[in-house]
C-alpha cells in the first residue's frame, strides 16, 4: 500500500512534468502544424540555464529568469528560423527543428561538458514532506506538483478567459478565418512558440534537479513527449494531459516493479522454459522493460485506435 501511494505520487509529479512539456508541443503542433523536434532541447537548456543562474544568484530567480529567456529564444527562433523555411512545407520545418535539436545537443556539452552537472535541489526544499510508514516523500516532489498544477491552471485560464486565448483557440481550428478577421496570425504563432518553449524551459528548471542534468536528457525525454502527443491524439490538449499522467504513472510503477514472467510461473514447472531463448525472455524483469513500455503503448494505440485517445477521426 505504501509502495502504491508513493509510486502514485511520484508518477503524478512526473506525469505533470511531462504534461508541461507535451502541452507546449501540442499547442505548437495544433496551431502551426509543426512538430517541434527541438522541444526537449529547450527542456534541457532550461535545466542548464537554471543550473548556471542558480549557482550565481540562487534557485528562485532562476525559476523565473530561465523560462523567460527560453521563451524569448523560442520566439526569436520562430521569427528568424522557422518562418523562413515555412514556405518549403512542414517537412522542411520539421527538419529545421531537427537541426536545432542536433546543434543544442552538441553545444550543451561544448559549454558545460559531457558529464552531468551538479544542479542541486534548493536547500529550502530539501526535506521530507511526509512519511508513509517507512517511505518518505520529498518536499521537492511536492513543489514540482504545485508548480505544474499552478502552470496548468494558468494555462487553462489564459486559454479560456483572455482575449488572446480565444484568438489562439480560434486559430487552432480556423487559422485562415482568424487571419481574415485582421488578427496578426504570424505574431500569434510567434507568441505560442515562445510560450511553448518557455513551458519546456520551466519543466527543465524543475525537472533538471529532480532527475539528472546531463547532455543526454533531451534525447531521453524527447521521444517520450512525442509518444504522449501521439497517444493523446495529435493536437489535443486534453489527450496530452491524460496521456502524460498515464504514461508518467505507468513508467514510475514499471521501474519499481521487480517481477518477471518467470516469477509468475515459479513453482509450477512449465515445459516451455526448457528452451533457452524463451527462458531468458521470461526472466526479463518489468523494471528492465520500463524504457520500452511507452513505445509499446504507442504502437498498440496505433493499431487499435489510430487517432489517439482524444484525437478526431478523419
Amino acid at each position: 500500500m505504501e509502495f502504491f501511494l508513493t509510486s502514485l505520487l511520484n508518477g503524478l509529479s512526473y506525469g505533470l512534468l511531462l504534461f508541461m512539456l507535451s502541452s507546449g508541443l501540442t499547442l505548437i503542433f495544433s496551431m502551426m502544424g509543426v512538430l517541434n523536434f527541438a522541444h526537449a532541447s529547450f527542456y534541457m537548456l532550461g535545466a542548464y540555464f537554471a543550473y548556471q543562474i542558480s549557482s550565481a544568484i540562487g534557485f528562485w530567480p532562476a525559476l523565473v529568469i530561465a523560462p523567460l529567456v527560453l521563451g524569448l529564444a523560442g520566439a526569436l527562433l520562430e521569427r528568424y528560423g522557422l518562418r523562413t523555411v515555412h514556405k518549403s512545407g512542414h517537412v522542411a520545418e520539421l527538419l529545421f527543428t531537427v537541426g536545432v535539436a542536433l546543434l543544442v545537443e552538441e553545444i550543451v556539452p561544448l559549454i558545460w561538458g559531457r558529464m552531468a552537472v551538479k544542479y542541486a535541489i534548493p536547500r529550502e526544499l530539501d526535506f521530507t514532506l511526509f512519511s508513509l510508514f517507512s517511505t518518505s516523500f520529498p518536499a521537492y516532489r511536492g513543489f514540482m506538483l504545485l508548480v505544474s498544477v499552478g502552470m496548468m491552471v494558468l494555462l487553462y485560464v489564459v486559454l479560456t478567459r483572455s482575449r488572446i486565448g480565444l484568438i489562439i483557440q480560434a486559430a487552432l481550428t480556423h487559422p485562415e478565418m482568424v487571419g481574415a478577421l485582421g488578427h496578426n496570425v504570424p505574431r500569434v504563432f510567434m507568441l505560442v512558440f515562445g510560450v511553448g518553449t518557455a513551458l519546456a524551459g520551466l519543466a527543465g528548471v524543475i525537472g533538471g534537479n529532480a532527475f539528472v542534468t546531463e547532455p543526454s536528457m533531451a534525447a531521453a525525454v524527447g521521444s517520450i513527449v512525442f509518444v504522449i502527443a501521439v497517444v493523446g491524439g495529435l493536437g489535443s490538449l486534453e489527450g496530452a494531459f491524460i496521456a502524460s499522467l498515464v504514461l508518467g504513472i505507468i513508467q514510475t510503477f514499471s521501474v519499481a516493479l521487480d517481477y518477471s514472467l518467470s516469477d509468475l510461473f515459479a513453482g509450477s514447472e512449465v515445459a516451455l522454459l526448457h528452451d533457452e531463448a524463451l527462458r531468458s525472455l521470461f526472466s526479463i524483469r518489468i523494471s528492465q522493460m520500463a524504457p520500452m513500455i511507452p513505445y509499446l503503448v504507442m504502437v498498440l494505440m496505433l493499431i487499435f485506435r489510430p487517432q489517439g485517445l482524444m484525437g478526431k477521426r478523419e
Binding site: G81, H90, L95, L103, L110, R114, V230
Partner: protein, 431 residues
C-alpha cells in the same frame, strides 16, 4: 526541342539523358572498382568501406524521403536488425551450423530488413507526413530500448563474429580488408542499380505521385497506403543489406546500430546531398563519411560542424548539394559560368574568415571545457594558442564579426548576379 529543359523542370530532355546515362553508369561501376588501385592505405580502404555502406544506406533512405516524401526517424531499425541477423548467421556459418556463402550474407540482412519492414510498415505507413515521422521515431525507440533487454542482442557488449569462416572460394576468405572492400563495392553497385531501376517502375512513379498528391493518387486507382507500404518494405530490404555489410566489415554489431543517432545519419546524408535527385544521397553519404572520418580524427566537435552544415542546408540550400550542382550545370552548359566567378570569389574570402573564426571559437571552448586537464595550451592549424589569454577569443570574435559583415554583403551581390543569370537563361529559352 530546346525549350524542354525548363529552368523549373526536373526532367531533362529524354534522348540527351539516355545517351549520357550509360556513361554515368559505366563510371559509377568503374570508379568503385578502380579506387583501391589509387588509394592503397589501410586508412583509405577502411574509409571507402564505410562510404560504400553509407551510400547504400542513404540511397535506401531516400526511397522514403526523396521519392515517397516519407520522413523517417527509424530507419536504423532495418539496418540494425539486418546487422544482427547477419552477425548471428556469420557465427552459425563459422560454427559449421549453417552452410551459406559469406559473399551472400548481406542477403540475410536484407531479408531480415524486409521482414521487419512488413511488420512495422503495416502500422507506420497508414499515414504520411508528420504522423509517419513520429511513428517511425517511436518504433525506432522501441527497438533501441528493446535491444538493451531482449535476448539475442548481446547486451552492452553486442555480438561479435569472425568473418573468416575458413571456406574460401578462389582464395577469397574476406581476411584481407581489400577483399571486404570489393565485397562492399559489389553489393554497392548491384544495390544502386536495383534502387535506380526501382525508380523507373510503376511503383516508383506512383511513389512520386503519392509524395506529391496522395489524394489524387486515389482517384487514379492507387491506394497510397499500399504504395507507401511496398516502398518502405523494399527500402527496408536495402537498409538490411547495408546492415549486413557493416556486420561483415566490423565483425561486431552493437546496440549503437539501432539508436536514433544511427537513424538520423542517413537523414543528414540524404538531405545534405539532395533528396530530390537520385545521386544526391550518394554525394551526401560520401561527404558526410569523409568529414566524419577526417574531422573526427582532428576534433571531437565534428558533430557540431555537421549540425551546422545540416541546418545551413535546410535554411539556404534545401535542394542539397545535388541541387546546387544541377543548377550550375545549366549555367555551365550555357557558357555563363565566368560571369558568376567574380561574385563567388567575393563571397569566398569572407566565408573563409567566418569559418575560421567559428572554428577557433568552437575549438577554444571545447578545449577549455572538455580537455581542461590537458592545460590551456592547444594548437589550431599548427598555430599554438593559449585559451587562458584573451588573444584567441578576441581573434575569433573579430574574424566572425568582420567575416559575417562582408559575407552578408557579398551574398546579396552574388544573389543578384545569380538572378541575372537565371533571367538570361530564361530569355534564351523562350524564342
Amino acid at each position: 526541342m530546346m525549350n524542354n529543359t525548363d529552368a523549373m523542370s526536373l526532367t531533362l530532355g529524354e534522348s540527351k539523358v539516355r545517351s549520357r546515362r550509360w556513361l554515368v553508369w559505366v563510371a559509377a561501376i568503374a570508379v568503385p572498382l578502380l579506387l583501391p588501385l589509387v588509394f592503397r592505405s589501410g586508412y583509405a580502404l577502411s574509409m571507402m568501406c564505410q562510404m560504400g555502406i553509407a551510400v547504400i544506406f542513404a540511397l535506401s533512405y531516400n526511397m522514403l524521403l526523396g521519392q515517397s516524401g516519407l520522413l523517417s526517424f527509424g530507419h536504423a531499425v532495418y539496418y540494425g536488425l539486418g546487422g544482427y541477423a547477419s552477425i548471428h548467421a556469420l557465427n552459425a556459418i563459422g560454427a559449421g551450423k549453417l552452410d551459406f556463402p559469406v559473399t551472400l550474407l548481406p542477403l540475410i540482412g536484407g531479408v531480415t530488413g524486409l521482414f521487419f519492414g512488413i511488420v512495422f510498415g503495416y502500422a507506420s505507413t497508414k499515414r504520411a507526413g508528420t504522423v509517419f515521422a513520429m511513428i517511425s521515431l517511436g518504433i525506432g525507440e522501441l527497438m533501441a530500448a528493446g535491444s538493451t533487454v531482449l535476448p539475442g542482442f548481446g547486451g552492452e557488449a553486442g555480438i561479435s563474429a569472425n568473418r573468416v569462416t575458413g571456406k574460401g572460394l578462389f582464395g577469397i576468405t574476406y581476411g584481407p580488408p581489400v577483399q571486404v572492400y570489393y565485397l562492399i563495392a559489389l553489393w554497392l553497385v548491384v544495390s544502386a542499380i536495383l534502387m535506380y531501376a526501382l525508380t523507373q517502375t510503376p511503383l516508383g512513379r506512383m511513389a512520386n505521385a503519392v509524395r506529391d498528391n496522395p489524394e489524387r493518387a486515389q482517384f487514379v486507382g492507387y491506394n497510397p497506403q499500399r504504395v507507401r507500404f511496398i516502398t518502405l518494405v523494399l527500402s527496408a530490404f536495402f537498409a538490411g543489406v547495408a546492415g549486413g555489410l557493416t556486420a561483415i566489415n566490423y565483425e561486431i554489431v552493437t546496440q549503437e546500430y539501432l539508436t536514433a543517432h544511427t537513424s538520423v545519419t542517413p537523414l543528414l546524408m540524404t538531405f545534405i546531398g539532395g533528396a530530390g535527385y537520385f545521386f544526391g544521397p550518394v554525394l551526401g553519404a560520401i561527404l558526410v563519411t569523409f568529414l566524419q572520418v577526417v574531422l573526427g580524427a582532428y576534433t571531437k566537435a565534428w558533430p557540431l560542424y555537421m549540425g551546422v552544415v545540416f541546418i545551413s542546408t535546410v535554411l539556404f540550400a534545401p535542394q542539397g548539394l545535388a541541387g546546387i550542382v544541377m543548377q550550375h550545370r545549366q549555367v555551365w552548359s550555357a557558357g555563363l559560368m565566368r560571369r558568376l566567378v567574380p561574385a563567388y570569389a567575393k563571397v569566398f574570402v569572407p566565408a573563409c574568415a567566418l569559418l575560421l573564426g567559428t572554428i577557433c571559437l568552437v575549438e577554444s571552448t571545447y578545449h577549455l571545457t572538455t580537455e581542461a586537464q590537458a592545460g590551456t595550451q592547444m594548437s589550431l592549424f599548427r598555430i599554438p594558442l593559449d585559451v587562458a589569454t584573451p588573444a584567441p577569443w578576441i581573434g575569433a570574435a573579430a574574424l566572425i564579426a568582420i567575416g559575417l559583415y562582408f559575407f552578408r554583403r557579398s551574398c546579396a551581390a552574388a544573389a543578384l548576379s545569380w538572378e541575372g543569370i537565371t533571367a538570361e537563361l530564361q530569355r534564351r529559352k523562350s524564342p
